[in-house]
Symmetry: C2
Subunit: 372 residues, 2 copies
């Protein structure tokens, strides 16, 4: 197996380190913008050197971002090369294009590190589909949000303080929007639902709400009720309909989700036979993530392609009702649905997920959390 590696940052460098001494795989060419010296691989800024090298059978994309990752992956596929990527935004955004293309061309396409970093999540979904129906996927899929929420809960920090510390420790980026607004989790639950349920969810029908509006006073309210706030994604298949959404969720102390510390992930599937199975581990980090990219390369070597056949386009249907904690805004809609007050916040009676997220679009300063 000869590999063209795109990107030599956290994950790319990690993969290079882990693959040292592996006789059946060779990173032949590395495409990156940095000046890197390698004795056993060619380093170039020019992607064409990978594209035009017929001895390279597999392209590992570890650049991140949508562009030029998309153009490079697409061109590599057109040239008949297999793809391994850790880029969730790329796969979730261009799912309808890349997965059918891989199928059509008979190419192997793997992206295990795209969800859960070092956790064997997508490969486990693939395994579970062999013998049972996947009924639900989801959980804590973003280490940045979990780190911030955990710090606020354990140390009583305010949001800004917890975020600043996460940034200092490298758990949050300088611009944390993708993580804290739930976009990263949103990509991951769409990808997990597509693979688990064998469909292609229309992304705009999957509502997402992040954690950036949470205040220390909210966390105080949760503590008083023995609840812990986590950013939780949900994908469910029931009676032929699929619901999918991302939102802060209040979990009782003592539940496995409530005990997920620091920047860890806990991702869950419910199978028709196996019942609940959850996977706990490092959702990010150089070697955990690179390890799953490495695993994908082994699978490509074994002839394993994408995790499930490309399925039909469907809109998520989020008519299921939940009770919500709402703070920061209290208008006539919230008043009309009020069931309780917790401190200066309101707890609603059952409201459908779609209705609540539609309200939130018009009230972006509110903080909401579903009650599990």
């Amino acid at each position: 197996m000869k590999i063209g590696l795109l990107g030599f940052g956290v994950v790319g460098r990690g993969l290079y380190d882990l693959m040292q001494g592996r006789p059946d795989m060779q990173i032949k060419t590395v495409v990156c913008l940095e000046d890197v010296q390698l004795t056993d691989a060619k380093v170039t800024k020019n992607f064409q050197e990978v594209l035009e090298d017929d001895s390279i059978d597999t392209v590992v994309e570890a650049m991140g971002g949508l562009h030029p990752a998309y153009e490079f992956v697409r061109a590599a596929m057109e040239a008949g090369k297999n793809i391994v990527t850790s880029n969730k935004a790329l796969v979730a955004t261009f799912y309808d294009e890349l997965i059918p293309l891989a199928q059509e061309k008979g190419l192997l396409f793997r992206c295990t590190a795209a969800v859960g970093g070092g956790i064997s999540w997508l490969s486990e979904l693939e395994r579970t589909r062999r013998t049972q129906t996947v009924e639900a996927v989801g959980g804590i899929m973003n280490g940045t949000c979990n780190y911030i929420l955990d710090s606020m809960t354990r140390l009583g920090q305010d949001y800004a303080e917890a975020l600043a510390e996460a940034q200092k420790l490298g758990y949050a980026e300088a611009n944390p929007t993708t993580d804290v607004e739930g976009i990263d989790t949103w990509h991951k639950v769409i990808l997990s639902s597509n693979i688990g349920f064998g469909v292609s969810l229309i992304p705009e029908t999957v509502p997402v709400c992040g954690i950036s509006k949470i205040k220390a006073s909210d966390v105080e309210n949760f503590k008083a009720k023995n609840l812990v706030c986590k950013l939780i994604s949900t994908g469910k298949q029931e009676n032929g309909k699929i619901s999918a959404y991302v939102q802060p969720t209040l979990v009782p102390q003592g539940q496995p989700e409530a005990a997920v510390p620091a920047n860890y992930n806990l991702i869950t599937l419910v199978g028709s036979a196996s019942d609940r199975m959850s996977f706990f581990g490092q959702g990010a980090g150089r070697y955990p993530t690179a390890h799953n990219v490495f695993q994908d390369c082994v699978d490509v070597l074994c002839g394993k392609g994408f995790y499930s056949p490309y399925g039909e386009k469907v809109a998520a249907c989020n008519e299921g009702k939940l009770c919500y904690y709402v703070s920061g805004v209290c208008d006539s809609f919230i008043e009309a649905n009020k069931a309780e007050t917790w401190g200066n916040a309101v707890v609603t009676g059952p409201v459908s997920v779609s209705e609540m997220h539609a309200w939130l679009k018009n009230n972006p300063d509110a903080f909401i959390a579903a009650i599990q």
Copy 2:
């Protein structure tokens, strides 16, 4: 694939249900002592009918117990049949015989349901070994013990009361010895270590202590320190030495292990690249367990054999030191190692695992728990 199924109890019947409608697998003959009527499989009390049927390529052993399971599996292997079993006692006890025999004869041998019931634990160890070194295995591997300890912690029940309720709910057997004395967990950690580290642990060198001596007063002492008692298995590979043991362990509230409810399992591996990964799920039960037996049949169909090559015989070396909570007995050894008192119990300074378990052999009425 034509299957001879041995046993039609919880797991055997579950497998039969799950395989309905599967075109690539057929349960041809069921060997069981009960009177069962099946329209699509032959039912017999006579194992020879499976043994002498050359069209049966795979024997699924779901009888449990050592005998005659061992004799049947051994004979089936001699006859060139692949084996799938959920029987941890069988595989752990006859590891040195069955695994080399499978290798020698080129037979496929799988036992994923033997550890963790419905959790994809052994298959994940197999996957992880492809790309990294397994540094540690272990965790909460017995649902009966977890149910009892969880009830004592949450409801303040005494041991006898919690056990009786577990028996009433079917989580504990009428004779609970194998579970509560840690034997079941002991088999599982030996098997996990053998596969994870590629060795064959000498079982007598792996000490085991169960939970039958725990009292409500011990649980009170733990609560006062924000600790939760769990039966935890440990297998570790460090500097070329392997340590392995099973013992009650005190875990701080807020740790993932502390939050494992009811009869669930939480099993952990530490990989050299992936860091900690934990697997949470149903460690027993008809369909979760049968589902992993089913998965093994799919793997046999794909030509997958045992999880790792048979490795050399090694003795566990448990010289690492831990602090222990000790109640029920206080003699000169405990006095000499005393660091603190918690209620009427003693907490020792660091004592080696092997020394503590040697002491326990002579003081079987004591309850001990390691402090994590």
